[in-house]
């Protein structure tokens, strides 16, 4: 005998003490699948024979079982479960997690059990216990189905028990091995003409000849695509029978699939003789079917009966259900799942039109699978949190919509007429898309737990909870509107440290870093010294509203690397955005990039525009204090004859004086007064994204050349010096070092080296996307005025870059993941999680000087 178990079930082994449940369990199930009451009892009492701990024992048992079921793991309960009340708890548990409750009963002669119990060495079981168990069991046997067990298997002899085999089968709804491609079609409701038109436009070809008005109609797609109906094939429309003929025909020939809708189910009830109200269009369908043969009606009845409430498809990436389905129900089975899939989640209340008030499950949906559904007519099919309703009210005069999977393209045909008037107007919301309307609010509780974010450019990134909380605090107090905040930039690593000599950082180490990783083409770019700024620039506030869902009247924003507004003065921000927007227009980049918005990654100068307080409080005051300190000691040592110790001290003070003056000079070089927009300089160095594109697959030369053209348009924009470098060419390297030396000795911060190809993967993961090599004078700002004194510089060479490299890599993949998601029009919460993640990683302690 074989027992075919659904692979997601809660199996209850039922039998008297001594009936061999534990041996049975260990023979047929993995040890981790078995939750045994004896083991739980031992856990809570240290002694498997203590019987006064029943309640705690079963609490623990149910807890373990519920965690497994929540994770969709097969679970086997090894407890006597001969009492109805005990089993009721288990059935309830299975239902709660939508697992199929299965009973396997070991119904042996009680005397056999008694004999076994007598021989037990692990614990003593009182005589007659098995007798008692057996009696309760026998009383229950007949009612097990009624108690809710979907399968009941009774094994009545040792022989039967020994010979049974157990196989596992996927649930009917589990069609993860089916990958389509599918053309998922919304609620048809008897609109046969529109359906055939839609199928034809999707590329389906119809078999031409039909013998009579009842024969099934078939259509197939030349490339083997499958149509997939979300249910509600009939009612309200003009040609219900023909819709059934076509859908049943296609399903029978394997060119279509379907899930059951509430109207289909009601028709089934009718056909099976149940008393149902002939309302909401069922009357029309029934009238048509009454003219058909019994045989046809029987065919319809069994077709609907065999149609599942939902299907879990394409490796778990797609769920199709008539009214949608919550994440916690995907690929599971219970009456509740079936009801949800057909009717959605309701409170029982009705609205002013007499329609059920639906809970908006899709608003809270955060699942990985895309959920495609129909049921509630909407004006347009729109994605919302990875779900999409494709019932566009054809029968109400709207349109019939198909979603192509996996392409996610929408195809629709207009209704030929309004067959019935809708009970309430089908309306859209506030001029936003459904997703944008939803994204007016982000939910704090979506971001507070430890997160693990999958990134297309690298390994998944984990955000620890405490960092996430710090990021949320910062974001909520200082951050700009999250709808604008589509990206936060990664930190950039410093180059490996020069091992000796007068330099702490030198191009040779950066060249060697990339050379040794086999990178043959680098770009070197000037590093401007200002503040990092991200510029979202659109062609106008209307574009911003349409694409970003913003309603603040802005055409763009300038924000810092931690997501704060760069400008406190919104008028100034608007002027700057406008200047850049006009420059993009004039340079023809809108057309060329086929977009009406861009995200620019830039350095915004002067440094003092944003950082004046800090420059005064930290950098200039240090320089001045150091100058004065040196000056004072030099005055105290102003004698012609000094002992040797004091001569040393005096020499050092002279150096300190010079270094302090050097620091002051470097800092002052990055400061100038800003009185109007004219005084700012923007040096963009990446065109990060535009409509439909993230440009991290374009070489840096592409970015530089486009940005040079942009800079020609307006003085507020400035270019960045750059050149290509082959790290294996001696002359390239020498001239790069000359350039760096010259640039940094005239006040330049330094150079940035990057792989020309932008994103490059090596054997051990991502190649550092950028590396800075800062100048000897500039580094006084970082390591203090006296960093290059002989006694200091060698100690400073010890700096661990590993963590910085890892952080730069994680932030890079995370930031760009968010940007890709934005371009793909994913829910804002998915985009925001990445931006918050970058900010959270930034709160990790890492040497801030690298």
């Amino acid at each position: 005998m074989n027992i075919a178990l659904p692979d997601f079930s809660l199996v209850c082994l039922i039998g008297a003490s001594g009936s061999g449940k534990s041996s049975f369990a260990s023979e047929h199930f993995k040890p981790t699948e078995i939750v045994s009451s004896d083991a739980c009892r031992a856990r809570v009492t240290d002694d498997a024979t203590v019987l006064d701990a029943n309640e705690d024992t079963f609490d623990l048992l149910q807890y373990i079982a519920s965690v497994r079921l929540k994770r969709r793991m097969m679970t086997v309960i090894d407890a006597t479960s001969v009492q109805r009340a005990d089993r009721a708890h288990l059935v309830k548990l299975a239902r709660r997690y939508h697992a199929l409750p299965v009973a396997i009963v070991l119904d042996l002669d009680p005397s056999l059990c008694e004999d076994r119990n007598a021989m037990r060495t692990d614990r003593s079981v009182k005589p007659r216990v098995a007798q008692r168990h057996s009696q309760s069991l026998r009383k229950s046997l007949r009612g097990l189905q009624k108690e809710g067990f979907r399968q009941v298997h009774v094994l009545r002899s040792i022989n039967e028990i020994d010979s049974v085999s157990i196989s596992r089968e996927p649930l009917w709804t589990d069609q993860r091995h089916e990958h389509g491609p599918f053309d998922i079609i919304g609620d048809v409701h008897g609109c046969y003409d529109e359906l055939t038109e839609l199928l034809r436009s999707l590329g389906y070809v119809f078999d031409s000849e039909y013998e009579d008005s009842e024969s099934l109609i078939s259509a197939r797609h030349s490339q083997g695509r499958q149509a997939f109906f979300v249910g509600d094939l009939t009612d309200r429309g003009p040609r219900n029978r023909d819709c059934l003929r076509l859908v049943m025909g296609m399903c029978a020939s394997g060119t279509a699939r379907a899930v059951v809708g509430n109207h289909d189910y009601k028709l089934l009830q009718y056909l099976r003789g149940k008393k149902v109200n002939l309302t909401h269009g069922l009357d029309g369908t029934v009238a048509e079917l009454n003219k058909c043969s019994d045989q046809f009606r029987q065919l319809v009845s069994s077709f609907i009966y065999d149609t599942r409430s939902h299907q879990w498809l394409d490796e778990g990436n797609l769920v199709i259900a008539h009214a949608g389905l919550k994440d916690s129900m995907h690929g599971r089975g219970s009456g509740e799942v079936r009801n949800f899939a057909m009717y959605g989640e309701t409170t029982g209340a009705v609205d002013e039109f007499g329609l059920p008030v639906r809970l908006e499950w899709a608003r809270d949906y955060r699942g990985k699978a895309s959920v495609v559904f129909g049921h509630t007519p909407v004006p347009d099919a729109q994605w919302l949190n990875n779900t999409i309703c494709i019932d566009t009210g054809c029968v109400f005069g709207g349109k019939l919509t198909a979603l192509r999977w996996p392409e996610k393209e929408l195809v629709d045909v207009q209704a030929h007429q309004e067959y019935v008037a809708p009970a309430k107007p089908i309306s859209s919301v506030r001029g936003f898309s459904a997703q944008q309307d939803h994204d007016l609010l982000l939910y704090f509780d979506d971001f507070i737990a430890k997160q693990r974010i999958d990134c297309r450019l690298g390994r998944p990134v984990t955000i620890p909870e405490e960092n996430a909380l710090a990021a949320l605090e910062s974001m909520s107090r200082f951050g700009i509107d999250p709808r604008w905040l589509i990206y936060l930039p990664p930190t950039m690593a410093a180059c490996p440290t020069a091992p000796s000599g007068a330099y702490l950082e030198h191009p040779e180490q950066a060249l060697e870093h990339y050379r040794s990783r086999g990178i043959k083409q680098l770009v070197a770019e000037e590093k401007h010294m200002g503040s990092r700024a991200l510029l979202v620039v659109t062609r106008g506030a209307d574009v911003a509203k349409r694409r970003f869902g913003t309603d603040d009247g802005k055409a763009g924003v300038v924000y810092t690397r931690t997501g704060k507004a760069y400008f406190n003065d919104e008028a100034l921000e608007a002027q700057l955005i406008n200047r850049v927007s006009v420059a993009i227009e004039a340079s023809g980049l809108w057309q060329e990039l086929k977009t009406d918005w861009v995200l620019l990654d830039a350095e915004l100068m002067p440094w003092s525009a944003k950082a004046l307080d800090m420059i005064n409080a930290q950098y200039l005051s240090t320089a001045i204090a150091a100058v004065n300190s040196a000056d004072m000691i030099l005055k105290a040592l102003n004698h012609d004859t000094l002992p040797d110790e004091l001569i040393t001290l005096k020499d050092k003070a002279r150096h300190q004086m010079k270094n302090a003056e050097g620091l002051k000079k470097v800092v002052e070089g990055y400061c100038w007064p800003v009185n109007s927009v004219e005084d700012y300089r923007i040096a963009p160095f990446h065109i990060l994204a535009a409509e439909e594109q993230v440009f991290v697959d374009k070489p840096h030369s592409w970015h530089m050349r486009h940005l040079e053209r942009l800079a020609e348009q307006d003085t507020v924009l400035t270019t960045t010096g750059w050149r290509e470098v082959d790290p294996n060419s001696v002359s390239d390297c020498e001239s790069l070092i000359d350039w760096w030396t010259e640039h940094t000795s005239t006040g330049g911060e330094g150079l940035v080296l990057k792989p020309m190809a932008f994103t490059v993967r090596g054997n051990k993961g991502l190649i550092q996307p950028a590396m800075k090599v800062r100048g000897k004078e500039y580094l006084r700002i970082i390591y203090g005025p006296d960093y290059d004194l002989a006694e200091n510089i060698d100690r400073l060479r010890e700096r661990g870059l590993g963590k910085k490299f890892s952080m730069a890599e994680r932030e890079y993949v995370l930031g760009l993941e968010g940007l890709h998601r934005f371009v793909e029009r994913r829910p804002l919460a998915d985009i925001h999680a990445c931006a918050l993640g970058v900010l959270a990683l930034e709160s990790e302690p890492v040497d801030p000087r690298l």
């Binding site: 609010l441 005051s621 390591y783 930034e842």
Partner: protein, 479 residues
């Protein structure tokens, strides 16, 4: 940084200036060096005659050690290499004084004890000093102790707080050294992380007798005992440093709780009940009046309103929400939640949250309060608060208080257009507030009642204004 001690002597005096060497236990002919915390102290004499003798204590700080610590096992106590710490007089110099002149500070002299017990004409020069305060402040520290004091500004511009300080008095050397030792960190007013904690607390022992009479003793004590800040601040600071505007964030953090309304008790002319207390009492009263039981305090801070609500059994569930982890930690400590037991923890909860995000955990409450909270939100983010609170959480009663900008005219300290608090993103006049309240009524189905809060001025109204929004149950609910 350095300290110069000068002793002068007239020909008629029973001592010569070069006796300073005996008083300091340092032979003027030699140079003394010793290691001190994160640096090297050198004592030498730059002048040595019978009339005038000057000993200089110079501390050359190792700037790397300040950041990295003295060895690989320790980490340093500073974030930034570019810092005034190595160059200005701070607690490192105090430590160096103590290490170099311990005997003298104790009033002992091996060879000239009689002289050590005498009050002698001393001068001291200290510099550079990065003083948290103006010249007046420097004078107010030294003059009450009997010094003649002159302060020279060193910076390029007048605002710079970098000085050198010269003091002189006829005083015992031990007194002079002890007072300088204590007052250096007070002038500097930075965290002396690089000094052993015990040592910081010793500061006060050194000054015990003269400090008690000092008119500035409160400031001196407070500044001398600055302690380490908490991790959360360090994290936030790290974030703000990246943005180049550390200065303003720090100001925001440090002032976040202190709403400065200094004039109110004076103008009211009655026993000064602080306005903030009035506000909280009124809000608590309204909550009682509305017979609500489950209350959200949004922007709860450290729980001042909650401590009023907790005593009333009517409130069966109180949740405090704040965006600051530090405030929440303090609030939990304030109510002893850690050891408070199940019943208290069930009734009173705190959680991190933000008003510009919605939050499912905030649904299902009877009432929410926002006491002086909305003005901390950027005006263009206010709409997110409206949607999350009035649209999503939708408690039956929402009480909002906010400053009345009309009343600002009565604050002498405020110039026109200036806000009462650095972190305020806006302050509304009575009309502006009313307009906002009416917009809420219309868009979200609430009814509002507005009232003044605090003593009412005939022309400018009350310092604060309060709106109670009650959910309008006559509207059709469309879930």
């Amino acid at each position: 940084m350095q300290l110069e001690i000068t002793l002068t002597a007239a020909a008629s005096d029973p001592y010569v200036a070069s006796d300073l060497g005996y008083l300091l236990h340092k032979n003027p002919a030699r140079v003394f060096t010793r290691a001190v915390a994160s640096g090297t102290a050198t004592v030498f004499y730059s002048e040595n005659t019978a009339a005038r003798c000057t000993a200089t204590l110079y501390v050359d700080v190792d700037p790397i050690a300040l950041v990295r610590g003295k060895n690989k096992q320790t980490t340093g106590l500073l974030d930034q290499y570019v810092n005034t710490r190595p160059y200005v007089a701070n607690s490192i110099l105090s430590v160096a004084i103590n290490k170099s002149f311990a005997q003298s500070m104790a009033g002992k002299s091996k060879d000239r004890q009689a002289l050590a017990d005498l009050q002698l004409p001393f001068e001291a020069f200290l510099g550079p000093v990065a003083c948290q305060g103006d010249e007046e402040f420097v004078l107010s520290l030294f003059e009450p102790l009997g010094y003649t004091c002159s302060v020279t500004s060193l910076g390029d511009d007048a605002d710079s707080n970098l000085y050198s300080i010269k003091i002189s008095a006829t005083i015992r050397l031990s007194e002079l050294l002890n007072q300088i030792y204590v007052l250096i960190p007070v002038l500097d007013n930075s965290k002396h992380w690089w000094v052993d904690q015990d040592e910081v607390e010793n500061l006060l022992n050194k000054g015990a007798h003269w400090l008690a009479q000092h008119p500035m003793r409160e400031v001196i004590t407070r500044r001398a005992l600055k302690h380490r800040r908490e991790l959360a601040d360090v994290l936030l600071e790290r974030l703000s440093v990246l943005d180049d505007d550390k200065g303003s964030d720090e100001a925001r953090n440090s002032n976040a709780a202190a709403i400065s309304e200094p004039v109110i008790s004076e103008t009211s002319g009655v026993a000064p009940v602080r306005l903030h207390d009035q506000r909280l009492d009124r809000v608590a009263h309204l909550l009682k009046e509305h017979s609500v039981s489950r209350v959200l305090d949004l922007g709860c801070g450290e729980g001042k309103l909650i401590s009023r609500l907790l005593k009333t059994p009517q409130f069966t569930k109180i949740m405090g929400v704040d965006p600051s982890l530090r405030s929440l930690r303090r609030a939990r400590e304030r109510f002893y939640l850690e050891d408070g037991g199940e019943a208290l923890n069930e009734r009173l909860q705190f959680q991190l949250g933000s008003l510009t995000y919605a939050d499912r955990r905030l649904r299902g409450f009877d009432a929410a309060t926002l006491v002086e909270v909305i003005e901390h939100i950027d005006t263009n983010r206010l709409v997110a608060l409206e949607r999350s609170l009035f649209g999503d959480a939708r408690p039956g009663l929402i009480i909002v208080t906010t400053p009345n900008a009309d009343y600002n005219a009565l604050f002498q300290a405020l110039s026109a257009g200036e806000f009462r608090h650095e972190d305020h993103r806006f302050e509304w006049s009575r009309d502006e507030f009313k307009t906002w309240c009416q917009k809420i009524e219309q868009e979200y189905g609430y009814r509002v009642a507005i009232e003044p809060l605090g003593p009412v001025d005939e022309h400018h109204g009350a310092p604060s204004q309060l709106a109670s929004f009650t959910i309008d149950t006559t509207e059709v609910q469309t879930a």
